[in-house]
Symmetry: C2
Subunit: 400 residues, 2 copies
């Protein structure tokens, strides 16, 4: 039997994945599991999107253009304009989810051994795509103590080597909900310019900014237009994660040209998803507003409740629909497994993502978890009660 690749062995395994069998067993025992672990919104997909799919009169579901359907790309130009992101149709390449945009950005921009500085905690799959491209993630540790703000510029510069080719940010951030300030974005811009780096900016949560603080896109930064590769997705904003439609956007013509080669090799992004995505951009304002208000409510509720549990602390996230919390526990991986295998309160338990999956620096964030608020407030209320009771009962509790 031939051996698998070393790359396969290096691929990270999400700590959440390891919990799935435990959750299934808990459910089999009749326990209700409240999912605070997933970024799958429970909001309905816009009816205009579903209707466009049902109304298609195509008789052959044929390849779409490798760069995506023109009318979708035109609609996206309009959409980005709402955020004062000025891009042209030719700057936009439609991808199979934001995931493919990250992979193709790495493939087209980075050689094996090249380094990407990523503030952490960070979206775990960046590591997977870096491994696929042979690139190396260099984590820049952000702390829950400072609400996951960026460390001073000197900390960035300590990580810069001749192999450093890029900085990657997620803004608003998954998993922390942090929204980079205008000062932080300026700091990133200056670094990108000084060292002529790529700035990969994952902005899939732009619709989810709650504090009135401005959302600053990488495309709002002046003087680094050719360095920016923006990663986007319609998944979260229209609650259509399953259609797999994202975008890679760059004004750098050399990168676009090379990304297109990877696009051509995989032939085309999903046709039906593009039809749904294009229509969804016309979702009524009331749809977007209702969704927004729902998350505002949930966020306030969850943050308040978590910070009321003795020994727990979470900063107030400014965006996305996650928060990272510190719990009074010895080990989040152990605690999250214990919740599913050894605990119940009134026939309920909670499933939570240990933060270990979001850190590359070893041993960091052992008492942190990511909580998603993609479930309704009444269910969130139950989940919070269960979490409080669980922390009282957990044998590995560290503070009293």
């Amino acid at each position: 039997m031939p051996k698998p690749s070393r790359r396969g062995a290096q691929m990270p395994e999400s700590p959440i994945r390891k919990l799935v069998p435990l959750a299934n067993k808990a459910k089999a025992r009749g326990i209700t599991v409240h999912h605070l672990n997933i970024g799958q919104p429970d909001i309905k997909t816009p009816e205009v999107g579903l209707a466009a799919m049902r109304a298609t009169t195509r008789e052959i579901l044929e390849y779409s253009p490798s760069e995506g359907i023109l009318s979708l790309r035109e609609k996206l130009v309009e959409y980005y304009n709402r955020f004062e992101i000025r891009v042209d149709v030719e700057d936009i390449i439609v991808t199979t989810g934001g995931s493919e945009a990250v992979l193709f950005a790495f493939m087209a921009c980075l050689d094996p051994g090249d380094e990407i500085i990523v503030p952490e905690p960070a979206y775990a799959n960046y590591t997977a795509f870096a491994i696929s491209a042979g690139a190396v993630i260099k984590p820049l540790l952000c702390s829950i103590e400072t609400g996951f703000a960026l460390p001073p510029v000197e900390e960035f510069e300590k990580l810069i080597t001749p192999k450093t080719k890029a900085i990657m940010i997620c803004n608003p951030n998954n998993p922390t909900g942090y929204l980079y300030t205008s000062q932080e974005m300026k700091q990133i811009r200056d670094l990108v310019k000084k060292y002529d780096l790529y700035l990969f900016s994952d902005e899939v949560y732009r619709e989810f900014c709650y504090t009135g603080a401005p959302y600053i896109s990488a495309f709002h930064l002046e003087g680094i237009e050719n360095n920016v590769v923006l990663v986007d997705s319609v998944s979260k904003r229209y609650s259509e994660c399953g259609i797999r439609i994202g975008a890679l956007i760059t004004k750098n013509p050399l990168i676009r040209q090379d990304v297109m080669k990877f696009c051509q090799a995989r032939l085309s992004p999903p046709l039906l998803g593009q039809i749904v995505a294009e229509a969804s951009i016309d979702a009524p304002k009331s749809y977007m507003l209702d969704m927004y208000n729902e998350y505002v409510d949930r966020r306030k509720f969850l943050i308040d409740e978590i910070n009321r549990i003795p020994g727990c602390y979470t900063p107030i996230p400014m965006g996305a629909f996650y928060t990272v919390a510190r719990l009074p526990i010895d080990d989040a991986d152990r605690f999250c497994a214990w919740l599913l295998s050894d605990f119940e309160y009134n026939g309920q338990t909670v499933m939570i993502a240990p933060a270990s999956g979001f850190y590359t620096t070893p041993g960091v964030g052992k008492d942190e978890v990511r909580l998603a608020y993609c479930i309704g407030k009444s269910q969130l209320a139950e989940a919070v009660v269960v979490l409080r009771k669980a922390l009282e009962a957990y044998p590995g509790r560290t503070t009293t």
Copy 2:
């Protein structure tokens, strides 16, 4: 402006892509372009597939499982059984097109520098996926003289080095239409076994076998069950290339485990495509038979006509919907460009794929082209007349 990766520069550019602007210009001049260049069938997608899409009552188009929807995987087990391919649900991982199956097979099985022996002419995008994974394609030249049969086993063995990790075949073959004989498949099996190689077998054209000769799947070969990674797609057989649904199938548990890590990183295959694909597997027998008969007709017509043009020769393809033909020309790239930029007959011309895109060995196949018969017979008839006239007029004609 930071530099793109070396990988991007290595990515092959399809010679067909270079012809697209010429074709567009020809159309702009009012010329009808007959497309013999594309593998996009003109057959309608099965109505059951389209109906399943329209009938979906889902209100949230959410992530599907990373390995694909269970009911689709179960349906595929049934489907493969029709071809005496005995696989279990857990052997089947649904991918975003056959393309992703090739990429993930390479990623999970091969390390940078590892070599894959591929009989050529071959599907050009294998090279693109090999470059993505840092692997190297070692072409094994097959000749039009012998109808693209496999060379003797000694020719394979000449290519084997300590870095050889895999053989990749496409059966029935794109671009040649060749169907590997039982003797050839046995030869491949013996090599795979002797050197403990992976056998990547792309079998997306299995429904298109015309001669009564048996279709032998890599899974029919005994004693190499753990070496086989089968690549499949519903694109061609149900004329739904745009939905991007394929599969990677292997009985090797280590490879499955690692492929799943790549699947989890990209979250899920397209949901809507999976709904269409699952329903399409129940397309009525009459749909499959009508399609089959249509291709039988087109194939006979095209092959007969090409071989009647003075100086032209094509072997009789046994499967798929392509054939590679030798034409009396100096350079197929030049000829194919000339057809679009300098020629017309009765307001018509043809677009053809130069075979250079299917060869890695430099300078080979310069007088060869790939012809696809994905257009109706009356249009094929017009195209063949145009091709005959073009060959009479072409200044780079080599024989009289």
